[in-house]
């Protein structure tokens, strides 16, 4: 199937084209409305008092000075909110694990467990005043010993984050197939490395924000979230009010990257305080707060062993991960490393693969899903390890990959971890990538740069990811243990004018889905995408939904829309057939009309069909009036995008500074709905991973103090740190949905960190450096060079 055939009757006028985005006019003119752009009559403001201690008992809280201020309406502490129905939720734990969770309340009760843990909320009339007032809330702490190193946290006698749990060990879980020890015993060469995927921040440029407005027994909450329906459900559970009394809205959302795939305590606090005061309240996260308390990602230390025969055939891959979960289990915290474990075998036919995961509490912010969520970590491990192995065997990086790729003919392919990769053509994407590399020119430039003390290297990464979350049957309560389904909904409404409104349960925040969804609908109904409006992110409109994350919104949400649209088209065809006295099966969408096959002039526009449906004077016998349909779509399988990336980097031998000179990506996300948007997702994803590989690191010192609390200390890549990207695609349709599409939002991030890391190691091999962990900052690279030269690093 191709993109063209994906539309009915071969008429793909809009799918497959780089339509300019429908979203953009409001965004480029400053007319969009993000949470902080909104106001409500009588609006109050909130500031949150947070713990400066990483681990401490709360001895006392004195709010009297703050409360005495005229501009303060309310101060709440944990003790004032003991009527909350439950602690904050963790909705997914690995199946079969016994997890002892520590109660995680919206405001700390008696003890704080990480820097930034919220202690009190101050509500007042002015945004500046509540920040002043928060400084006047006096909290006395009694410090406790702090544990930040996850491996040390597992030792006997270690300081315990939660004393009453008796251990920092949260869970142990293994996933794999075959026999890794037997596989390693068969190998001629076994390479072992410790691979660190350090802690990072999602860091969308819009921080989080909430407006809660509780009035007359009902709550309206605007939140900068990826998951408004989850926010509504969990608020109902927390506050003990019925779900239909809550409307949760994600208005314009300024990026998420997983950091807004969460149910946060601030959402509860604002709703609770609004109910108490019967006034609307706004809270906007500062960047410093975001760095402290928007959940972090990654933070896995892995001991990896990969074995191969002399000819390069990989016999086994074993990974033992210590996952630093932080102080509390949030929405998906414990399952993130598990998501990676599913694709730990990468693109390769490795018969024996096993991942053993130990989750650990430390006195840090929780980790949870950040762009890629477990899969960037896994890809980094397998792709760095295969290069290490290649070097040991004296093989080239492309050769060892080709030797082990799952061949195209084998799909659908069940891999050792038990999942069935639905489609793939790994040779195809690597071949296309290699065709873009001019190896001779590379060698020439490498030699020339060497004369100036610059070391040029090249690194590959070939990845596949598991996304399109998710088949409910597989991930649900009796499957992998998620306490919900992961279908998506769509409602397609044709107005009497022939305009179309689509309601989606997806909740995009930059992905351009209004445009991609409109393209899918337009082809199927013979209208211009201009007249297709897409409504999302509001629990008060449209059917139940599940939000945007896990590269799911096109393959699950888009498929739901395609199916709802097909139902509308079916009804339209029946109406047209009746009007024109033709057979319904002879009606097709051709251009801007529903017409009789072979007689394009003999037909009706969608507006004419809608007129007949809404003024039902001549509908087929028994047909209901109206023209709208709803679908819930639950996928049968995940989807498996894949690709091949190459990074060319220049390392300054004197300073250790790394520059990405060229980045080439060949990705396969199935037939393109909007190629321009796909490229944009890839560009951003790669840059996110370059950030992790070279610059970004959430760092706590030994006392649990956050050292990287602002954008001054936590370096996102700027325009000056990245090159123009060279992107291309192959198109292997997924058999898992009728569009053939796979996700693309996380692909770049999943593929890129290994390419950059392998390139830096390749560059430094002439200096004797053979392995490094991220982040490859100038200091670390310089130290590695000095150490390899036999000097003593400072």
């Amino acid at each position: 199937m191709t993109a063209t055939e994906a539309a009915p009757n071969g008429a793909a006028l809009h799918v497959g084209r780089s339509l300019k985005r429908k979203e953009d006019p409001r965004l480029i003119t400053g007319r969009a409305r993000y949470v902080d752009d909104m106001t409500v009559p009588g609006l109050l403001h909130a500031a949150i008092v947070r713990s400066p201690e990483a681990h401490a008992m709360i001895v006392s809280i004195d709010s009297s000075a703050a409360l005495a201020r005229e501009d303060v309406e309310l101060v709440l502490t944990g003790q004032d909110m003991t009527d909350l129905e439950s602690p904050l939720p963790c909705a997914w734990v690995p199946p079969g694990t016994e997890i002892a969770n520590a109660p995680h309340w919206a405001l700390a009760r008696g003890q704080v467990n990480h820097v930034g843990d919220p202690v009190a909320i101050v509500v007042g009339t002015d945004r500046y005043a509540v920040v002043d007032a928060a400084e006047e809330v006096l909290v006395e702490y009694e410090s406790l010993p702090v544990i930040v190193d996850p491996r040390a946290a597992l030792a006997d006698g270690a300081t315990l984050v939660h004393e009453d749990l008796g251990s920092n060990r949260v869970f142990e879980f293994s996933l794999g197939g075959g026999d890794v020890e037997a596989g390693l015993a068969e190998a001629d060469v076994v390479v072992q490395r410790e691979i660190v995927n350090h802690r990072t921040s999602g860091a969308p440029i819009e921080p989080r924000g909430v407006i809660a407005d509780f009035r007359a027994g009902s709550l309206t909450i605007h939140s900068s979230t990826q998951v408004p329906h989850f926010v509504r459900l969990f608020l109902a559970l927390q506050l003990g009010i019925s779900e239909e009394r809550i409307r949760a809205v994600a208005p314009e959302v300024g990026g998420g990257f997983g950091a807004k795939l969460q149910f946060y305590g601030e959402e509860v606090l604002l709703a609770y305080a609004s109910r108490r005061l019967q006034r609307p309240i706004k809270w906007i996260e500062t960047r410093s707060e975001h760095m402290q308390v928007a959940h972090h990602g990654r933070d896995q230390i892995a001991t990896c062993r990969m074995g191969a025969r002399q000819d390069g055939t990989i016999t086994a891959f074993h990974v033992q991960i210590t996952a630093d979960l932080g102080a509390y289990l949030m929405l998906l915290t414990p399952v993130i490393p598990v998501l990676g474990a599913f694709v730990m075998g990468g693109c390769y036919a490795i018969p024996n693969v096993r991942t053993d995961i130990t989750g650990v509490f430390t006195n840090k912010m929780s980790t949870d899903a950040i762009r890629g969520a477990g899969r960037p970590e896994a890809t980094h491990m397998v792709e760095v390890m295969i290069d290490q192995l290649a070097s040991e065997l004296g093989m080239s990086p492309p050769a060892i990959r080709r030797k082990n790729f799952i061949p195209k003919e084998s799909f659908p392919a069940e891999v050792a971890t038990g999942v069935v990769y639905d489609s793939g053509d790994y040779h195809g994407s690597l071949d296309k990538l290699m065709g873009k590399l001019d190896v001779e020119a590379f060698k020439r430039e490498q030699a020339e740069l060497r004369g100036r003390g610059i070391y040029r290297g090249i690194g590959l990464s070939t990845y596949t990811e598991i996304c399109g979350l998710a088949p409910s049957r597989i991930v649900g309560p009796s499957g992998l243990g998620l306490q919900t389904g992961l279908w998506e909904s769509a409602m397609v409404r044709v107005h009497i004018s022939g305009a179309v409104t689509v309601y989606s349960g997806a909740s995009p925040h930059g992905q351009g889905l209004d445009t991609s969804f409109a393209q899918i609908v337009a082809d199927r109904l013979g209208v211009d995408p201009e007249v297709v409006e897409v409504i999302h992110g509001d629990t008060g409109t449209g059917p139940q939904g599940l939000g945007t994350y896990g590269s799911r919104s096109l393959s699950v949400g888009g498929e739901a829309i395609a199916r709802a649209t097909a139902k509308v088209a079916e009804k339209a065809k029946a109406i047209v057939a009746h009007e024109l006295e033709a057979a319904a099966q002879d009606i097709e969408v051709s251009g801007d009309r529903f017409s009789v096959r072979g007689s394009p002039d003999h037909g009706m526009s969608l507006a004419e069909v809608a007129g007949a449906a809404y003024i039902p004077e001549n509908l087929p016998e028994g047909m209901e009036p109206g023209l709208e349909e709803t679908t819930f779509y639950d996928p049968e399988n995940f989807v498996f995008p894949f690709g091949a990336h190459a990074a060319i980097v220049d390392v300054d031998g004197e300073t250790g500074k790394v520059a990405v000179a060229r980045y080439i990506a060949v990705d396969d996300c199935g037939p393109a709905v909007n190629p321009m948007i796909i490229d944009g997702q890839i560009h951003g994803g790669i840059t996110h991973a370059i950030g992790q590989a070279l610059y970004e690191r959430v760092h706590y010192d030994d006392d649990g103090q956050l050292v990287t609390g602002t954008f001054v200390d936590y370096s996102l890549p700027s325009a000056a740190e990245v090159p123009m990207f060279e992107t291309d695609r192959t198109e292997t349709p997924s058999p898992s949905n009728s569009l053939g599409v796979k996700g693309v939002g996380e692909a770049g991030t999943i593929g890129a960190s290994a390419a950059v890391t392998n390139a830096v190691i390749d560059a430094l091999r002439p200096l004797g450096v053979t392995f490094m962990n991220m982040p490859l900052t100038p200091m670390r690279v310089w130290e590695a060079i000095e150490e390899a030269r036999g000097g003593v690093p400072a």
Binding site: R17, L27, Q511, P675, I677, S718
Partner: protein, 169 residues
């Protein structure tokens, strides 16, 4: 609230009399007093540039300027640059070249781009990248932002949206 100070600021061509606390940031005066919410706040350290506006014709980060410093001065915000019916060429170029995704950094990025072209009419790729170094974007990887600024300066760039379909067909 501490004592307020009267200031007169011309914003997008209209004169406004405001009474502000001396500590009030220009960005908050624009957003909250004047309702010009197109200028965004993304950090607390003048790092991200989402709040970039023009003060007397020069790009500044409005989170780093006090409203009282702007007495008698002229401010242009994204709302003053162009409207959906009458886009500024830089806005047009960002749309055409997909120079935005979530849109949050976009107003600041556009204001920084316009400022660059005011100073350098035909900037090189490197000059563009360094000129927007103080404007962070987490979505786009900057690729299409650089193309948009090149296009707005009238330089040849590879097509990004519909036009490229014809090129590739």
């Amino acid at each position: 609230m501490s004592a307020t100070v009267p200031v007169r600021i011309t914003v997008n061509g209209a004169s406004h009399q405001l009474d502000v606390e001396p500590r009030r940031l220009l960005v908050h005066a624009l957003r909250e007093e004047l309702g010009l919410t197109g200028t965004h706040v993304g950090c607390d350290t003048s790092s991200c540039g989402a709040c970039t506006i023009h003060l007397d014709g020069v790009a500044v980060k409005s989170c780093t300027v006090l409203a009282v410093q702007c007495d008698g001065r002229e401010v242009t915000t994204i709302e003053g640059l162009g409207s959906t019916d009458d886009l500024h060429p830089m806005q047009e170029a960002f749309w055409e070249h997909h120079g935005l995704q979530c849109g949050y950094c976009t107003p600041g990025m556009i204001m920084a781009g316009v400022d660059l072209l005011n100073r350098t009419s035909q900037p090189s790729e490197s000059e563009i990248r360094h000129a927007i170094e103080g404007n962070l974007c987490r979505c786009t990887g900057y690729h299409n932002i650089v193309k948009a600024i090149q296009a707005a300066s009238g330089q040849q760039t590879e097509a990004t949206s519909q036009a490229r379909d014809e090129v590739q067909a």
